[in-house]
């Protein structure tokens, strides 16, 4: 059985030539839609004035030359170019589909351009998997980031651009209400701001060094109002937990596991457990930190069983 780790280095799209040569009408159409008035895309003389041989294509248009366009929607994903796709692509799609990652969104594109394209160039592309991430919780849903390298070549086989391309393949969340907003004030803002950066912190008294959570303005041990924040290791164990069934808040999936986790540092916090069924949770179970990006401005620490961590 193939696993996600096995896909690194595998070709998922053999060399495939775009349907149209680089041409001025498509360039003009692109520049018009983008609102790009750079004369080198529409005026031969202006382009030559910059030392170019004539009209060039915008660098960012590289990928468009190899898009299948409307044909992809009519013929379906297995037709056309995909019919010639490597076995790797079909295997990867099958694996992703089996795990319910039915949705896709592009998250990163890193282009290095080797030369500008001019009318008449024929662009081909070949795609190889670089890496596939462990399952991640994102604002869109749970999924894996698939990173590939797309190499663009011209009619002579010369590389014209290299693109690192990252897609999130994910299980879409059901349309959910946003989670209840925390009331953020001067005493707790640091904690939620750190969480947005995926850092779990614990308030630490600057006077006596005592860690405290939930945070407060003043140390109950020494009375100091001075404090900083220590970064937690992210390891802990389940101290107690509940499985919520009723009432149901539209932000959550039920049954919902809420736990009090005791961190290795000694403080406890209320959190959610993920990657585990309600019936499998036990008090004392070792857990490790993960992050839930609930929505663009709310990230929350959640925990998953230590044994369930992917290598």
């Amino acid at each position: 059985m193939t696993s996600y780790e096995d896909f690194a280095g595998r070709e998922i799209l053999p060399l495939w030539e775009g349907p149209d040569p680089v041409n001025v009408p498509m360039i003009r159409h692109w520049a018009e839609a983008m609102g790009d008035r750079n004369p080198i895309y529409r005026d031969d003389a202006a382009a030559r004035a910059t030392g170019r041989p004539g009209i060039v294509a915008p660098a960012s248009m590289m990928q468009a030359w190899t898009m299948r366009g409307y044909a992809a929607t009519v013929e379906g994903p297995d037709a056309g170019a995909r019919a010639g796709a490597a076995a790797g692509a079909r295997e990867l799609d099958g694996l992703l589909e089996k795990d319910g990652y039915t949705s896709v969104v592009a998250t990163d594109s890193e282009f290095e351009f080797h030369r500008e394209l001019v009318a008449g160039d024929r662009v081909s592309v070949r795609e190889v998997v670089e890496s596939i991430s462990p399952e991640k919780s994102t604002a869109l849903g749970t999924g894996r980031f698939v990173t590939t390298v797309r190499t663009y070549t011209d009619q002579d086989g010369e590389v014209v651009a290299v693109q690192r391309w990252r897609l999130l393949r994910f299980r879409p969340k059901e349309a959910r209400a946003p989670r209840p907003r925390p009331a953020v004030n001067r005493d707790n803002a640091f904690w939620f701001e750190a969480a947005r950066e995926h850092r779990l912190v614990i308030q630490r008294c600057a006077g006596c060094g005592t860690l405290r959570h939930p945070p407060g303005p003043c140390c109950p041990h020494c009375g100091s109002f001075d404090w900083d924040a220590a970064e937690a290791s992210g390891r802990g164990q389940v101290y107690s937990f509940v499985v919520n069934h009723h009432p149901r808040h539209p932000a959550f999936e039920y049954p919902l596991i809420v736990a009090v986790v005791e961190l290795d540092e000694g403080t406890r916090l209320v959190t959610n457990l993920v990657g585990v069924e309600p019936g499998e949770v036990e008090i004392g179970m070792p857990v490790v930190l993960d992050w839930l990006d609930a929505d663009p401005d709310l990230s929350l620490p959640v925990f998953r069983p230590q044994s369930g961590i992917a290598a």
């Binding site: 989670r179 925390p182 707790n188 939930p214 107690s240 509940v242 069934h245 959550f252 309600p278 008090i283």
Partner: protein, 391 residues
């Protein structure tokens, strides 16, 4: 015995009916309950010079006083922390009476908690306010921990883990409550007892809590009148003398979520209340003839029995299973049916039942009751009373 023990007594009790939809304003419920209590005491509203209620109550003193015909008030006070306030209202009244600050103090609580704003639906959609009370919810509601049942379930799970208690042990508390309610015509669950099997078969609310571990929600009002013990002796009913009245807030106290203490199987604030009650009254657990223990959720009845000295830590499950809470048992418990069985009136209806027990007029009156211990809300800063027959 402390300075004010024996100095004050509850002389009147009055309530509205307990329903799911009162059909009238909370202020009207408050006025009805207050007037009934004043009448039960054989007094007139104009005799009242003190008022105590909960900070959670929406019926400000002046509106109740103006509406019911009270005149000059020399004492008014409010107790915070939800249901934890119940017995604290009587303590305030007793202190006022004992020190001469007031002669007749009315304690009251009235709300449309079932047909209006329901606590049971949780705090998740609270308003965007960032005071300390709101910020405390920031550690809970974004994770979906937002209702009292869920908060209590977290304690219950740990209690089960450390002491080997089971869901059935919690269920036995509900069964006793409902058995007593079944013979109380004022109870919502009058004539509707349950079995342990019913409890086990009821649906999950927040594991390990079943539906039948959770109290109902109620519309209604309840009031009490406190006067000096001396004066109470001239009034129609036998006085229920306030032998002890205490409040308690523990170390590292949170609202329903004190999960950060070294141990969370006990209720330290209730232990604090109990020690004060016994010191004030000069009595001990062995002197208590009945108990009205706060029972919004069954699991926290067990550690109350432990904190109040009726059994050792971890042994409440055996104390309950041995039948000690039954009418013929060592410590008849929640003879009105408790909040699970009679009504959820934030603990105030339990104080009224304790008065009836001292008067000898409970519908489930055990033999020879002289002293009754009453507790208020658990998981929050709380309060307690020892009421006794005149001696």
């Amino acid at each position: 015995m402390s300075g004010f023990s024996g100095a004050a007594a509850i002389a009147g009790i009055g309530a509205t009916e307990f329903s799911k939809d009162s059909g009238r304003s909370e202020l009207r419920l408050a006025c009805e309950a207050v007037l009934a209590a004043v009448a039960d005491a054989g007094l007139k509203p104009s005799d009242v010079d003190g008022m105590v209620t909960f900070t959670a109550d929406t019926n400000a003193e002046i509106h109740v006083a103006r509406s019911t015909g009270m005149r000059d008030l020399t004492f008014f006070s409010r107790i915070p922390h939800g249901g934890g306030a119940a017995c604290g209202t009587v303590q305030q009244a007793a202190l006022a009476v004992a020190t001469g600050v007031a002669d007749v103090v009315v304690c009251y609580r009235a709300f449309n908690e079932r047909s209006g704003v329901r606590y049971g639906l949780g705090q998740a959609d609270g308003p965007a306010e960032t005071g300390a009370d709101s910020a405390a919810y920031a550690w809970l509601t974004p994770f979906g921990l937002s209702t009292p049942a869920q908060w209590v379930a977290m304690f219950a799970r740990r209690y089960m883990h450390e002491y080997g208690a089971t869901s059935e042990d919690f269920g036995r508390v509900a069964v006793v409550d409902r058995r007593h309610a079944a013979t109380n015509p004022a109870a919502w669950f009058y004539r509707r007892p349950i079995t342990l099997e019913d409890h086990q078969a009821s649906r999950w609310i927040a594991e390990p809590l079943h539906l039948l571990d959770c109290c109902q929600e109620t519309d209604g009002g309840q009031a009490l009148v406190v006067v000096s013990a001396e004066r109470a002796r001239d009034l129609p009913h036998p006085p229920a003398v306030v032998l002890g009245a205490a409040q308690g807030s523990g170390d590292d106290q949170h609202m329903m979520t004190s999960y950060y203490r070294p141990r969370i199987t006990g209720i330290p604030e209730m232990g604090l209340v109990g020690r004060q009650l016994y010191a004030q009254s000069g009595l001990g657990p062995a002197d208590m003839d009945a108990a009205i223990l706060y029972d919004h959720f069954t699991p926290l009845v067990l550690p109350q029995l432990e904190e109040l000295g009726f059994c050792a830590p971890g042994e409440a499950k055996d104390f309950v299973a041995e039948g000690n809470l039954e009418l013929g048992g060592r410590l008849p418990f929640n003879t009105h049916g408790g909040q699970l069985g009679e009504a959820y009136l934030h603990g105030m209806n339990g104080i009224a039942e304790a008065v009836r027990l001292v008067r000898g007029t409970s519908v489930n009156q055990p033999e020879g009751v002289r002293n009754v211990i009453v507790t208020a809300g658990t998981g929050v800063p709380t309060s307690g009373l020892v009421l006794g027959a005149d001696r």
